[in-house]
Every structure is written in structure tokens, then in C-alpha cells.
């Protein structure tokens, strides 16, 4: 390898930092959407690299369904304290209380779909013109087609047929009033890249990413954490299982995998050998083959 050729992790990192700085340079009121998941934790690390010793030119925004893993919320609060950056929380519970959304009923009830409304309200309230997110193109077929700067209309909608051409590394962030841009700095990273980066940077993660014992039930062939947020009936049998989570979302729709990966090296080994893609462990994508495309059009992240 020549001395002037970047290794892939350095190249991905440099690209993401470049994108974050473009957001800072092009927008008046950007925000970083923080979910507590490893992808948004990676974004925070990249933001440190892009802007330190200065402050972040944007707050962190968390859309809290109220059904999060406790470990995620603890992690979030500790992180914000360490960084000394501003955190804004949008509560799905508030949207429910205001009658803007109605809690789902039945066994598979989840607040996951409700957070779109809370997100759009939070964007409107704070007049955010750009929201940075940790989505990656390798996650899902609809995401594979999304731009790095992805313009949403005033209803938060994504129109796959009317995307702006994105040439070289020149990102066009010009928008009309009411529109906003979703920005995806780690679009070109794969799940494995993120894990390798976390290991290289020695980043801390919420503990649920690592193997632990937990009460679980099995639904639709998938392991779900037993919690007060999950509507359970007599058919649901609680079992103690050794599990970890590959994504960190709402407790009602994030499935666990049986795992004995206690350290990050174990996880990387597990993923390298894995035969199930990451979103395969998200029940919300399973509804139909076109599920993600439909949700994106409706303003989901």
C-alpha cells in the first residue's frame, strides 16, 4: 500500500467528518438525532473529531418513545454530561397526551411508528433545517437509494423519484422555508465497519449490546425482552436467556439474538460469521417487503 492511500476506516471517517462540517457550514439550525444506538454514538464520536476543541454547532436530539431500555437512557445522560453539549428530548408520551397520536392496541402494539409524529413536531418546534442521522445504505434496500443530503418536504416526506443528483462530494443543502434535510454521514459504512471503528476508537456502548442474561419471550420466531411495555398474554412464556441486542430501539420492536459475545472482539467475530443482517432483527421491517420505503415516504428517519 502506498503511503498516500488511506486505509478504509480512515477514509470512511474522513468522509463522515467532511459531511458533518458541510452541515455546519451550510445550515442555520442543524441537529444531530441521537437514538442511543451504536450508529448515533459513532456520529457523536465523529462530531468530536470534526469540531473539537470547539463546541458542536448543533444540539443532540433524542426522540424518546418512553419504552426505551433503561441502559440506553443512562448511557445517553452520562454521555451528554461528559461532552458538555446540549440535549433536546422529544417525548412520544407528550404526543399521545396531546392527542396527536393514538397508542396502538393489541399484542404487537409498539410506539415505534408513533415517533415519526414526535420527530416532525420537534423539528418544527425548534425550526431545525438539517437533521443528522446514523442511517446506512447497507441496512435496507430503500436506504441503498437515498442521498447523503436527503431533502424532505414540509410534511417530512421523502420522494425517491425526485431526489437531487448528488455529484462528487458536493452536497447541495439549499432548501425552501419549511423543508429540511436529513443528512447521513455514515451512509457508506457497513455494520461491520461501525463495529471495527468502535473497537479502534475504544468507544463505550450501552451494555445491552453485549451478552447478558434477560427474561425473554418468543414472538414470531424472534426473541423479545419481557418488559411492562410489551402486551403479554398467557401464551407468552417467559424464559431466562443469554442474549444481546444488535440494534437499540424501542423495547417493543427490538429483537434480541442468543449470544455469548461479552467483549467487542466476540461481537465482531459473531457478525463476521453472521448469517442474519442487522435489520433482520427488527420486527418493524418485517411487515412487508416494501415496509421501509413506505415509512420513509411518511417521514420516518
Amino acid at each position: 500500500m502506498s503511503k498516500h492511500q488511506l486505509d478504509y476506516l480512515d477514509e470512511l471517517e474522513a468522509e463522515a467528518i467532511y459531511i458533518l462540517r458541510e452541515v455546519a457550514g451550510q445550515f442555520e439550525r442543524p441537529a444531530l438525532l441521537f437514538s442511543g444506538g451504536k450508529d448515533s454514538i459513532t456520529l457523536v464520536r465523529l462530531a468530536e473529531k470534526a469540531f473539537r476543541p470547539g463546541k458542536f454547532p448543533f444540539p443532540l436530539v433524542h426522540i424518546d418513545t418512553g419504552h426505551n431500555f433503561i441502559e440506553t437512557i443512562e448511557y445517553r445522560d452520562n454521555m451528554v454530561k461528559r461532552l458538555g453539549e446540549k440535549l433536546i428530548v422529544g417525548n412520544v408520551q407528550d404526543s399521545i397526551d396531546q392527542g396527536k397520536v393514538v397508542e396502538q392496541k393489541g399484542k404487537n402494539a409498539s410506539r415505534n411508528a408513533l415517533q415519526t409524529v414526535t420527530l416532525l413536531d420537534t423539528i418544527a418546534e425548534h425550526k431545525f433545517d438539517a437533521c443528522i442521522g446514523g442511517a446506512r445504505r447497507d441496512e435496507e434496500k430503500a436506504r441503498a437509494k437515498e442521498r447523503i443530503f436527503s431533502v424532505r418536504d414540509e410534511f417530512g416526506q421523502w420522494d425517491p423519484k425526485r431526489q437531487r443528483p448528488e455529484l462528487w462530494n458536493i452536497y447541495n443543502g439549499k432548501i425552501h422555508k419549511g423543508e429540511n434535510v436529513r443528512v447521513f454521514p455514515i451512509s457508506n459504512w457497513t455494520e461491520l465497519d461501525v463495529w471495527n471503528y468502535i473497537r479502534r476508537e475504544k468507544m463505550e456502548l450501552p451494555s445491552i449490546y453485549f451478552a447478558h442474561e434477560r427474561d425473554c419471550i418468543t414472538r414470531g420466531g424472534q426473541l423479545m425482552a419481557a418488559s411492562p411495555f410489551l402486551n403479554m398474554d398467557e401464551e407468552d412464556v417467559i424464559e431466562r436467556r443469554n442474549v444481546r441486542f444488535r440494534t437499540v430501539g424501542d423495547m417493543t420492536c427490538t429483537a434480541a439474538v442468543e449470544s455469548y459475545a461479552y467483549e467487542i472482539d466476540d461481537i465482531i467475530d459473531e457478525i463476521s460469521a453472521s448469517k442474519i443482517s442487522e435489520r433482520g432483527a427488527r420486527m418493524d421491517d418485517k411487515v412487508s417487503e416494501a415496509a421501509m420505503e413506505d415509512r420513509k415516504k411518511g417521514g420516518y428517519f
Binding site: 500500500m1 502506498s2 498516500h4 492511500q5 488511506l6 486505509d7 478504509y8 480512515d10 477514509e11 470512511l12 471517517e13 474522513a14 468522509e15 467528518i17 467532511y18 462540517r21 458541510e22 455546519a24 457550514g25 468530536e48 473529531k49 470534526a50 469540531f51 473539537r52 476543541p53 470547539g54 463546541k55 454547532p57 445504505r137 447497507d138 434496500k141 430503500a142 441503498a144 437509494k145 425517491p160 423519484k161 431526489q163 437531487r164 443528483p165 448528488e166 455529484l167 462528487w168 462530494n169 458536493i170 447541495n172 439549499k174 432548501i175 425552501h176 451512509s187 457508506n188 457497513t190 461491520l192 453472521s274 448469517k275 442474519i276 443482517s277 433482520g280 417487503e289 416494501a290 420505503e293
Partner: protein
């Protein structure tokens, strides 16, 4: 490990999606749940085998029409390299997507149907690959199984293509006879094509030298953001943040800021918590200068001894990407690196018929048209000719009415 970014260009029926599907499938880059979806899909080939094209076409609208409507990015990795594929559609109306995909690639795979040979679309794709300055081109002559793996058919196509390559200015083209449907010469060497002694496609992609033109070109550093903490202990801290677009910078290098023309010396280069002596193309860094001069986003730091062109009137190649035709009386925005300024297309010199490569002289510049123009900008641009330094020679045009990106510019030279 390095990353190779490539595009695949072929017409609707050349089996492009099948080729990508085959690369992913045979290199075992498909995960179990994706494979399950593939097997459970009711789309099959005529002989009942699974249709690998399903792996690349993502959107509902496409599945309904059986075509690819946009650039889709796919990722896979072997032991030797990481790959990013920009899958771009082949039909006429989507030239803009191919230009988009090509702008971010270091290599192009051009597909030719062995039964059809070099056709109009091959000319179009090859012209675009040349215009966008892709350093490496590999031509896959596909569907060899449909022509009985005939060496003669293949050689004819190679000969015809070489003539085309000369005409559009492509050098060092590599040819591979393949069957994406059957898997010949995609990942594994074909036993059906024993007269071919070169590499399989994947073997080629894993070993081809990745272009390092950007790092040997002259030093260019567009400033994206000025880091000024303004805290008590960092009162005098002033760092210029950006990504080196070409060449390299060292501490003590003499640099000039354009367009202002002020010069200074690099005092420090920061990469987060490290302070390297040298940084090169592709790296995101923070640069400090010895002198306190006024620099902001949109300015570019360059090596004082090797300065780019600086002009407000520039000759360029233009690809138009909007349904609303170019209006030479309208004021647009131009974005070049981190610089945005107003501009007008002063003159259309000619258009190119990309199917015949003939010049045309009508003034109308519509969606997917390509040609040469003269642009006038409100502020001067510090640019290099695109064919010499891609990283500092590309720009986009934005319609100030819609904010949409409507044109891609490959800057050529200062116009008199």
C-alpha cells in the same frame, strides 16, 4: 485494506443487475435473511433458477416496472478489498443518474450483450465514462452462453470497442468475456471459455491499482469551517477545518489563500488529537497558519508554487439534469467545493449527440443534454481543469427558484 468504488453501465437488457447479483452471490456477500427473501420471491429465471437481479432493485415502483430507476449503492467485501457499487440505470432518460454514479467512482464496468455487440447505448456509456474522467474501464462482454462461448464473436466486439475507445478518449480498457446468468468469469474462471487466459472479473477488481491521481496532484484545501472555541484557555485558537482535495500539505509549506491571494505558512496540522507533519488528499484535517489572515468558508488554501486558475469566465462541459431546460437569461447558483456564488451560462458553444458523438448547434439545453458552454460567475473560482484534477474541477449548478441541482460542470479552462 482499501475501498474500490465502481459503477456498472449497461442497457436495460444487458443483465447488469444479474451481474451485480452474481458478484454478491458468488462472493458469499448475501446474508441469510436476504437469501431467504430471494428464494421466496416468485420471480424466477426461465429455467427456474433464482433471479439474482432482485438483489439490486430496491423500490416498489421498480419492481412493478422491472427496471432500475435510480442509483442504488451496494456494499461487499472480500479478503482483499472493500467494494462500493453504484448501480446506475441504462435507459436514455436517466443519463443524469449515470453521471451522478460515475462522479464518485474510480472504475467503470461497461456491459455489452454478446448478441448485440457495440450499440448506441455502449457509445453513450463510454462517452460519459470518459467525460467524467474515470481512470479505469473494464468491458464485460456478457451473455457469452447465448453465443456458444464463441471466441470469434468476442474478438469482433473487442475490435469494435477499441475503435470506440479511441474515439471517446478511453485508454487502457480491459476486456472480459462473461456470463452473469451462469456465473462464467465473474468470481470463478470459466471452464466454458478456455480460450480466455485473463482474470475473472472479481479477481481483476481485487487487484487493479486504485487511482492515486488525487494525491500526486497539486495541493488543494477548500476551507469548510473555521474552528474558534473562544474560550479563556483557547482564546487565540483559530483552525481551518476541511478535507484535503488533492496533493499534500506539510508543516512549513508556503500556502496562498484564494481568491484573496494572501500568503502564509502552515504552522500546524491537526487530526483531532494528533499533529502529523504531513497530511494528504482524502484526509479531514484542521490547518493552522503562522499569520492571522481573514479566511472563511468558500476559500481555498493552495500550494503557493502551484496555483490553480482563477477566473470569473470559464469554459466547461455541462450535463443538464433538470426537466426545465437551461435558461441563458436566468441567474443560477454554482457550487464548487465549499464555495457558492451566482452564475449565468453566457454561451452554449455546442452540444454533443452522445449516441453518435456528433456536435450539434441548437441552443436548447434540455434534460440529459451534454455540451460545452461558457459560464460567468459573480465571484472568481479557483479551479483546476477537470481532466487534470477532478477534485478541484467539478462543480454543480443549482436553480435558485427550486433549489434543485440542475447541472454538472466539468471545468476546462479560463475563457477569454
Amino acid at each position: 485494506m482499501e475501498i474500490l468504488k465502481f459503477i456498472t453501465a449497461g442497457s436495460v437488457d444487458d443483465g447488469k443487475s444479474t451481474l451485480i447479483g452474481r458478484l454478491l452471490y458468488d462472493s458469499e456477500s448475501i446474508l441469510l435473511d436476504q437469501l431467504e427473501a430471494l428464494h421466496s420471491s416468485n420471480r424466477k429465471n426461465d429455467d427456474g433458477t433464482i433471479d439474482l437481479a432482485i438483489l439490486t432493485d430496491g423500490l416498489k415502483a421498480e419492481r412493478e416496472q422491472g427496471i432500475t430507476i435510480d442509483v442504488a449503492y451496494k456494499y461487499f467485501q472480500t479478503e482483499k478489498r472493500k467494494f462500493i457499487i453504484a448501480d446506475t440505470p441504462g435507459h436514455t432518460q436517466y443519463t443524469r443518474n449515470m453521471v451522478t454514479g460515475a462522479s464518485n467512482a474510480n472504475l467503470a464496468i461497461i456491459l455489452i450483450d454478446a448478441r448485440k455487440g457495440v450499440i448506441e447505448q455502449t457509445i453513450r456509456h463510454s462517452f460519459l465514462v470518459s467525460l467524467l474522467g474515470l481512470p479505469k474501464v473494464v468491458v464485460c462482454v456478457n451473455k457469452m452462453d447465448m453465443v456458444d462461448f464463441s471466441e470469434e464473436v468476442y474478438n469482433d466486439i473487442v475490435k469494435n470497442y477499441q475503435a470506440l475507445a479511441v474515439k471517446v478518449g478511453l485508454k487502457n480498457v480491459v476486456f472480459i468475456p462473461v456470463s452473469a446468468l451462469k456465473g462464467d468469469n465473474i468470481v470463478n474462471k470459466s471452464t466454458n471459455i478456455n480460450w480466455y487466459h485473463g482474470k475473472s472479473l472479481l479477481d481483476y477488481l481485487e487487484t487493479v491499482e486504485i487511482n492515486i491521481d488525487d494525491t500526486i496532484a497539486h495541493a488543494r484545501f477548500p476551507v469548510q469551517w473555521v474552528v474558534r472555541p473562544q474560550t479563556d484557555e483557547l482564546h487565540d485558537y483559530r483552525g481551518y477545518a476541511g478535507r484535503i482535495s488533492s496533493g499534500s500539505f506539510r508543516v512549513n509549506d508556503k500556502v496562498t489563500v484564494l481568491p484573496s491571494g494572501f500568503s502564509s505558512t502552515v504552522s500546524k496540522i491537526e487530526v483531532f488529537d494528533k499533529e502529523p507533519e504531513e497530511a494528504f488528499a482524502g484526509m479531514s484535517v484542521t490547518v493552522h497558519l503562522k499569520d492571522n489572515i481573514d479566511i472563511s468558508r468558500g476559500d481555498i488554501l493552495v500550494n503557493t508554487d502551484y496555483q490553480p486558475q482563477l477566473s470569473q469566465v470559464i469554459e466547461a462541459d455541462l450535463c443538464w439534469m433538470d426537466t426545465r431546460a437551461l435558461d441563458t437569461s436566468h441567474t443560477y447558483f454554482i457550487q464548487h467545493n465549499s464555495k457558492v456564488t451566482r452564475c449565468r451560462i453566457q454561451e452554449v458553444l455546442h452540444k454533443v449527440n452522445i449516441n453518435t458523438l456528433e456536435k450539434e448547434y441548437d441552443e436548447d439545453f434540455k434534460l440529459n443534454d451534454i455540451g460545452r458552454i461558457i459560464i460567468k460567475t459573480a465571484d472568481p473560482l479557483a479551479f483546476d481543469p477537470y481532466q487534470v484534477n477532478k477534485a478541484n474541477g467539478g462543480a454543480i449548478i443549482i436553480d435558485s427558484r427550486t433549489n434543485v441541482t440542475v447541472g454538472a460542470l466539468m471545468l476546462r479552462a479560463v475563457a477569454d
